[in-house]
């Protein structure tokens, strides 16, 4: 089911100033010079964007890449006059198709929005009004700008949804956003942004939170629109994603462009240290060398877990999963959302009892142990969550958090301080954080704290459930390095659960690929990544952005 096969019909002539000459100035759609956007006043003034300049031409895909808080979204929103309440926008030039955006009054700015400039926000669930039907949302620009006669709006909506790769558009148009999957919502949102055939499409994180295969389909859709002449301004935190798609890339940090240039050059020869760090964080093709096979530590035999839902057929989340973890190795468990990988992790941890099958840890199943033995054994299997904040008692300071497992294991008070210091050293945290609460720490610090706490009871296995998915790319790389370093020093085994093949690849010695509650393929990292046998594994691998390979091709 590829999007390519649903190539939309050629767009009808658009009543807008057409490019009358072939020279660069005429095809230039957006020109921004020395843009500064500030919020607040006086000492409270914060500058989100500081002196940014760029242009976008028709048919071109320009990407702005940066991590959260870099000012990339504000830059994009400024173009449609939606920088936010109290935003103070200053620029030498802020022009769209030759018109000075700063001089447009509210009415003329509205005439531009949705009509000449389409805007796709991140967070497809929140960006569609949950109380209105999908069709009504897609139709809104059509009705507002009267680009098609009212009688034809319905047909046009269906055509737009179809062009955006939404199957069965008539049914979908009559549904509400929550009834659609994430990928379909994102397509509907793109259909809505493209409804009035704008000249420029601004897409702010259009693929974040989507599974890799869906992500690829959305990117293909954007590329197809660009080929038809729509200019695309792509905002993303993910250099891997934009690297494949964009013609030119601007790397943004702290409100400034630290580097800009053709995508191929940025990816192969980054100049600025920050860009280099970002490029280094893009998953490469190297594979971790497997350690000498240790003794078997944790084994799952034929796990089955079913969930009963009120008024619906039961859901088999885990359907006959068997796997083995050996001492000191990393077993990667890969799958898209809903594949059952998290449930497997929870069963391994003895947090959920399987309906069938058993988990053998250190020679005995969880059920065979007495209550005291079970508690002692649990200390040897720890967990790291995607959102560490949720796994910390909100009343505790960092010190109390790390000390809690030590207390539970009855480590004498005198020893605790040394152990805490040692743990901080393992994860590279400054002792200065100890008296702060987790909510006052950065995302990277929180995850390091979670790792330190998980290591405190000296576990044999740590189950890591999407441990870096919520982090910015450069921080992601650091946390993965911490995990790898800890493993080499302490010989702890990991069960590394993730939807992100690139991340799994960095840490795993062996990989199990999950789909619909089953393991469809299992093997060494070498086998899975270089000679995948199952078609699903192949599809997953194809969906991983390979910007560097793409860049080499383009050079």
């Amino acid at each position: 089911m590829s999007t390519e096969s649903r190539t939309p019909p050629a767009p009808a002539p658009v009543p807008s100033p057409a490019p009358d000459a072939e020279d660069g100035a005429a095809t230039e759609l957006v020109r921004v010079e020395d843009l500064t956007v500030g919020f607040g006043r006086g000492r409270r003034r914060v500058e989100a964007v500081r002196g940014v300049s760029f242009t976008v031409r028709r048919g071109e895909i320009v990407a702005v890449v940066g991590e959260s808080g870099s000012g990339k979204s504000v830059t994009a929103r400024t173009l449609v006059g939606l920088a936010g309440d109290g935003a103070d926008v200053r620029a030498a030039t802020l022009a769209f198709d030759g018109a000075d955006l700063r001089r447009l009054d509210a009415r003329r700015l509205r005439a531009l929005r949705g009509r000449r400039i389409g805007f796709v926000l991140q967070d497809a669930l929140g960006s569609l009004d949950p109380l209105r039907k999908v069709g009504a949302e897609v139709a809104e620009p059509l009705r507002e700008h009267r680009t098609v006669p009212p009688a034809q709006v319905r047909d046009e909506v269906e055509r737009l949804l179809d062009a955006a790769g939404v199957p069965d558009p008539r049914t979908r148009a009559a549904q509400y956003p929550h009834q659609l999957s994430g990928g379909l919502r994102q397509r509907a949102l793109i259909a809505s942004a493209l409804a009035a055939r704008p000249d420029l499409l601004i897409a702010d994180e259009p693929t974040t939170a989507l599974d890799a295969t869906v992500q690829q389909q959305i990117l293909r859709l954007l590329r197809a629109r660009a080929r038809e002449g729509t200019a695309v301004l792509l905002i993303s935190h993910d250099l891997g994603v934009v690297g494949e798609l964009a013609d030119r890339i601007h790397v943004m940090k702290d409100g400034r462009f630290v580097e800009e240039g053709p995508a191929a050059r940025i990816l192969t020869a980054p100049r600025h240290p920050y860009t280099r760090a970002l490029v280094a964080a893009v998953p490469g093709e190297e594979i971790r060398a497997a350690p000498a096979p240790g003794p078997e530590l944790l084994r799952a035999d034929g796990l089955v877990k079913r969930y009963r839902l009120p008024g619906r057929p039961g859901l088999t989340a885990v359907d006959g999963v068997s796997l083995t973890v050996r001492a000191g190795e990393t077993l990667g468990v890969v799958g898209e959302s809903g594949s059952g990988k998290t449930t497997v992790g929870r069963i391994l941890m003895d947090l959920v009892a399987p309906d069938e099958g058993r988990v053998v840890f250190d020679g005995r199943t969880w059920g065979e142990r007495t209550r005291a033995e079970r508690r002692a054994a649990r200390r040897r299997v720890q967990m790291i969550h995607q959102y560490p904040l949720g796994s910390f008692d909100p009343r505790y300071t960092a010190r109390q958090l790390i000390e809690e497992p030590l207390r539970a294991a009855r480590v004498p008070r005198a020893e605790r301080a040394d152990r805490v210091a040692e743990l901080l050293g393992h994860v590279g945290l400054d002792p200065g954080v100890l008296d702060r609460r987790a909510r006052d720490l950065s995302g990277g610090q929180r995850q390091r704290l979670a790792i330190a706490r998980a290591l405190a009871p000296r576990p044999d296995v740590v189950v890591c459930d999407e441990p870096v998915s919520a982090l910015d790319a450069s921080v992601q790389a650091q946390v993965l390095d911490v995990l790898a370093g800890v493993q080499e020093r302490l010989g702890v085994a990991y069960v590394f659960i993730s939807h992100d093949l690139g991340v799994v690849r960095r840490l795993s010695h062996r990989v199990a690929v999950m789909k619909d509650g089953r393991i469809v393929e299992e093997g060494t990292a070498e086998e899975i990544f270089h000679t995948p046998r199952h078609p699903y594994t192949t599809a997953l691998l194809a969906a991983v952005p390979q910007p560097r390979r793409a860049a080499r091709k383009r050079l």
Partner: protein
């Protein structure tokens, strides 16, 4: 392929409409069944309370008059007070189900007549209050849904103050100012429209402030949602934005609250009726409480519970209509 799909989905539209209606019906039936259970529980508790009351029912019936044992026995037989408890309970249930609340101990007339005579005045007050609350809160919320800091603080402050005002004190203040000083409105309980103004204001003030606050916060919260930015990015105007997108979101919590308020007004009106010496259920129930006239008290309590339960079903249906997410059909495709 596309043609096939189009053919297939054309009759599907009406089928969807039909399932939608049947789902709504099922929701109403399920909620009605739950409500009957709640009311049954309330009747049972009422029955138990009568049994638990200090002093036998006969003593209460005979109140302050002393009678011969023969009369006493007659009354006991008349009210079936010598039957086993369970039989008494069943016959009590049966009578309540038929709408027969018995006779008032004190007024010596059927409870239903006594309550019915007072009901119109109370209902007029409650209806007027609901109307003022709904209209007033929407106006205040729309005026106050402004991002400027001082506007926010002003509205929040006034709302807190009004909520803190005891309604009966507000009633006294209104009487002092508008009746005794300015002589704009009648002082005591005329049942005409003029007599309704001050009681309605006193009763509606606190609910209006509460609903306005919830609406205002709902509006502001909805204005922060990403779909609002998306809608703005489509070029729609601020008025259309508020009407088409934002107001419905703010209405969701407000409908729940209005339902709860509609139920609690039956209690609140009692106090206001006393303040303004109005005719109404309030005075009836208050004297019944003082005289331990249980049939009247229980009738009013059960009446209020029934209204509350019905209002809640209405609120659920409204929510169902406003918010597709509560329809329980959501299944990611």
């Amino acid at each position: 392929m596309a043609g096939l799909l189009t053919e297939a989905s054309a009759p599907g539209t009406t089928a969807r409409e039909r399932t939608r209606r049947s789902r709504l019906l099922r929701l109403v039936l399920a909620r009605a069944a739950g409500s009957v259970a709640v009311l049954w529980g309330a009747v049972t508790v009422a029955f138990l309370l009568i049994q638990l009351m200090p002093g036998s029912t006969v003593d209460v019936l005979l109140a302050r008059s002393s009678v011969t044992p023969r009369v006493r026995a007659e009354i006991t037989a008349q009210y079936h007070l010598d039957d086993p408890l369970f039989i008494q309970y069943l016959s009590y249930l049966g009578r309540i189900a038929r709408g027969d609340f018995g006779d008032s101990y004190v007024l010596r007339q059927p409870v239903w007549d006594a309550v019915g005579a007072q009901l119109p005045d109370t209902l007029a007050l409650i209806a007027a209050t609901l109307l003022v609350t709904a209209a007033g809160s929407v106006v205040l919320a729309v005026l106050g849904a402004n991002r400027r800091r001082w506007v926010q603080s002003l509205f929040a402050g006034v709302e807190s103050l009004v909520v803190a005002l005891p309604p009966f004190w507000l009633g006294l203040l209104l009487l002092t100012v508008f009746s005794f000083t300015l002589h704009w409105f009648p002082t005591v309980g005329a049942s005409g429209l003029g007599g309704l103004v001050l009681p309605t204001l006193a009763l509606a003030a606190a609910p209006t402030a509460v609903v306005a606050q919830v609406l205002r916060e709902g509006l502001l919260r909805a204005l922060d949602e990403p779909f609002v930015t998306t809608a703005r990015a489509r070029g729609i105007g601020e008025l259309a934005l508020r009407v088409r997108h934002v107001l419905r979101h703010a209405l969701l919590p407000a409908t729940t609250l209005m339902g709860w308020i509609a139920g609690s007004l039956i209690g609140g009106s009692v106090i206001i009726e006393i303040v303004f010496s109005r005719q109404g259920v309030g005075r009836l129930v208050l004297s019944a409480v003082q005289d331990k006239d249980m049939p009247v008290v229980i009738a009013v309590v059960l009446l209020a519970a029934t209204v509350f339960v019905v209002v809640n079903i209405v609120v659920d249906v409204l929510q169902w209509l406003i918010d597709p997410r509560t329809r329980g059909t959501g299944r990611p495709a």
